[in-house]
C-alpha cells in the first residue's frame, strides 16, 4: 500500500511534501518526481495530514467550526461526575474528545486521540462511545480500518482528558477478524463494560448471525483484555443496547436472528461468578427477513422494571414500539406503538428516573426531521402526548437521552444546526 499525505499548510506548517512507501522511511523528493511517481503508480489511497495538529486547535461553539475537518455527524456524549458534558467527535481520519461546562453552548479545545491518521469507520449504528467513571477516568471507543476492514479501538485518559493513551484494538483477535458496533456502558458499581460484534467465529458453515463479545475495563495497569463471548446469533447491523439490573450486572437488548430467519429482539443477562449468560426472547413481531435493518433498540431499567423500545417491520406489527416488564424480562406488556407511522419514526432512545420514563426518536417528512419526546409519569402505564422539541433540515444523527443529577437532556447532533443539548422539562 502506498500512502500519500496531502499537505495543508494551515494545519501542518512543518511538513513538506512526503511520499511514504510501505513502511519504509519517508523520502523527500522534488515536486516533478512526486508528480511523475504519482501518475506512474496510479494510486491514491489516503489523503490526510498525519501531523499532530492539536496544538492549533482552539475552544469553540456547537457548530464545529473550530474542528480541523468541521466535525462529524456521529457524535456520542456523556456527563461525567464533574458534571461536564464530555463528547467523542469522529472526523474522517481523526477522533477527538472535548467537553462543555455550559451544557453544550461552548466546548473546550478538542484533544486529538489518534495522532496517526486512520480511516474512521463510524455510523449511526456503529458509534463511537465515551464514559467517565467516578474516579474521572475517561474511556473512549471508536472503529477504524486496520488490518481488517473494521476494528474497534479504545483509549483512556487519567488526567481529566488532557491526554489519552495511544489507541489500541479492543479485540485480542483484531488482526484476524472484524470488530464493530462497540458499546461502552458504566455500571452503577463503577465497572466499565464494553461490548462489540466480533466476526472471529464466522465460518462458511455458520453464515447466519454474528457473535457479541465483551470485556471489562477496570484494570488500571497495562490492559490485557480477555474477551468473553455472549451470543452468536445476533443480527450484525443493529447496535446493542445495555442497561444494569439491581444486581449491577449488565442486561443487553438487541436484535437476534431466531429460527426461521426471524429478526426479533431478545435479552442477554450477564451472570455473576463467570456463570453462562442467560438469553431470552423479548419481542414477537415475526419479522422474517434476510436484510440489514440498521435499526437498533433501547433499554433502561428503573425500580426493577425493564423498559424497552424498538423498531420492527414484522408481520404482526410495524413501526416503533414500547413495552415494560415487571418480572425482570420474563414477560412484557403488550407492545405500545408510538410515533407517526406516516413519517418514518426511527431510532428510539429511552431513559427512566423512578417512574418517570422518557422516550425520544426522530421523524422525517421528506424535507425536515423532527425530534420527538414522549413522557410517562407512572412507569410506562400511561403516556402524555408526544411533542416535537427540535427540527433539522439536513442530515441528522440519532438522538440520545442523557442524565446529569436530576436533570435530563436529549443529545442531538445535526449537520446544519450543529450539536444540541435539549433539556427535558
Amino acid at each position: 500500500m502506498i500512502y500519500f499525505y496531502m499537505i495543508d499548510s494551515s494545519d501542518c506548517p512543518f511538513i513538506t511534501q512526503v511520499v511514504r512507501f510501505h513502511n519504509s522511511t519517508p523520502l523527500k523528493i522534488s515536486f516533478g518526481q512526486l508528480l511523475g511517481r504519482l501518475l506512474l503508480i496510479s494510486a491514491l489511497t489516503l489523503i490526510a495530514c498525519s501531523h499532530d495538529n492539536q496544538g492549533h486547535l482552539k475552544a469553540g461553539t456547537s457548530d464545529y467550526s473550530h474542528y480541523p475537518a468541521g466535525g462529524g455527524l456521529f457524535v456520542t456524549a456523556a456527563f461525567g461526575p464533574d458534571h461536564r458534558l464530555w463528547r467523542v467527535v469522529p472526523e474522517k481520519q481523526h477522533v477527538y474528545v472535548d467537553y462543555s461546562t455550559d451544557l453544550g453552548k461552548t466546548f473546550s479545545a478538542p484533544v486529538l486521540i489518534n495522532t496517526k491518521a486512520q480511516p474512521i469507520k463510524v455510523s449511526g449504528e456503529s458509534r463511537p462511545g465515551i464514559v467517565v467513571d467516578s474516579s474521572g477516568r475517561i474511556t473512549i471507543i471508536y472503529a477504524a480500518k486496520d488490518a481488517q476492514p473494521v476494528t474497534v479501538y479504545f483509549s483512556v485518559s487519567d488526567d481529566n482528558g488532557r491526554s489519552f493513551s495511544t489507541p489500541a484494538p479492543l479485540s485480542d483477535k483484531a488482526a484476524e477478524a472484524n470488530s464493530f458496533q462497540g458499546r461502552l456502558a458504566l455500571s452503577p458499581s463503577g465497572q466499565t463494560y464494553v461490548f462489540w460484534h466480533d466476526e472471529r467465529d464466522r465460518t462458511e458453515l455458520r453464515p447466519r448471525g454474528n457473535a457479541i463479545y465483551y470485556t471489562t475495563m477496570d484494570d488500571r495497569s497495562d490492559v490485557n483484555f480477555s474477551a468473553q463471548k455472549l451470543s452468536d446469533s445476533v443480527c450484525d447491523c443493529c447496535r446493542v443496547a445495555a442497561a444494569f439490573d439491581a444486581d449491577t450486572l449488565p442486561v443487553l437488548f438487541t436484535r437476534f436472528i431466531y429460527p426461521g430467519g426471524i429478526r426479533d429482539h431478545g435479552l442477554i443477562k450477564i451472570q455473576a461468578d463467570d456463570n453462562a449468560p442467560l438469553a431470552s426472547r423479548a419481542t414477537f413481531d415475526d419479522w422474517k427477513i434476510e436484510a440489514c435493518p440498521d435499526h437498533g433498540p433501547a433499554i433502561v431499567i428503573s425500580d426493577n422494571n425493564y423498559h424497552i423500545a424498538w423498531f420492527t417491520q414484522g408481520n404482526k406489527r410495524q413501526g416503533l414500539f414500547y413495552a415494560y416488564s415487571s418480572d425482570r424480562g420474563q414477560h412484557f406488556s403488550p407492545p405500545l406503538s408510538f410515533g407517526n407511522p406516516d413519517k418514518l419514526p426511527s431510532h428510539p432512545d429511552i431513559l427512566a428516573k423512578g417512574k418517570h420514563i422518557m422516550l425520544t426518536w426522530t421523524e422525517f417528512d421528506g424535507s425536515e426531521t423532527q425530534l420527538l419526546l414522549m413522557q410517562s409519569n407512572d412507569g410506562g402505564r400511561t403516556w402524555l402526548p408526544a411533542k416535537s422539541i427540535a427540527t433539522s433540515t439536513e442530515e441528522v444523527d440519532f438522538p440520545f437521552l442523557l442524565s446529569n443529577n436530576n436533570d435530563t437532556f436529549v443529545s442531538w447532533n445535526s449537520k446544519n444546526e450543529g450539536y444540541r443539548l435539549l433539556p427535558v422539562n
Binding site: L44, P207, A291, G366, S367
Partner: protein
Amino acid sequence: MHLKKLFPYLLFALLASLHSPAQAEPSAFTSGSYQQLLASNANQPFMLVIWSINCSSCLKDMELLSKLHKSRPDLKMIMLAADELSAIDQVQQILEKNHLADIENWIYADENTQKLQFEIDPKWYGELPRTYFFDKAHQRTGISGVLSKQDYDEMFAKILKPEPK
C-alpha cells in the same frame, strides 16, 4: 507551485488512470436522480437493486444477481449502492468481481441519505437490500431482504407480462 493547487489535477489524472474505460464507474445519485432514472427507462420494465458494501445480506445476494443478469438479458437490471461516494472503489471492486459492473450502476452522492431514500420511497426505512420491480407502466413492488431465485422469477414474470390486447 503549491501542492494544494495542483491537487485537483493530480486527483483527476490518478482517477482517470485507475479505471479502464470499459468498466464505467457508478453514476452519482443525488436529489432528482430517481426521477431521472425513471425517465430514462420510460416504457420499459426493470429491476432496481439497492445495496451496500456494509450490508452482509446484500453481499450474499450478489452471486444470484450475477447469475440472473447472465441468464435474463431480457430484463434490465439497475443497481444503486447506498454507500458514501468515497467508497466508490470498493463498490466498483465488488461489482466487477460479480460481473455486474457493466450494467447501469449508481452510488449515493449526497450525505443526506435520508432524503435520497425518501425520494425513492417515502415508506422505506432504509433496510438493505431493497429491490424494486417496475413493470412497463412503472407500477412497482418494493421488497426488503434477500430474495430467492423463485422470488425473482415470480416478480420477473409479473413485470415482463405482455400487455393485454
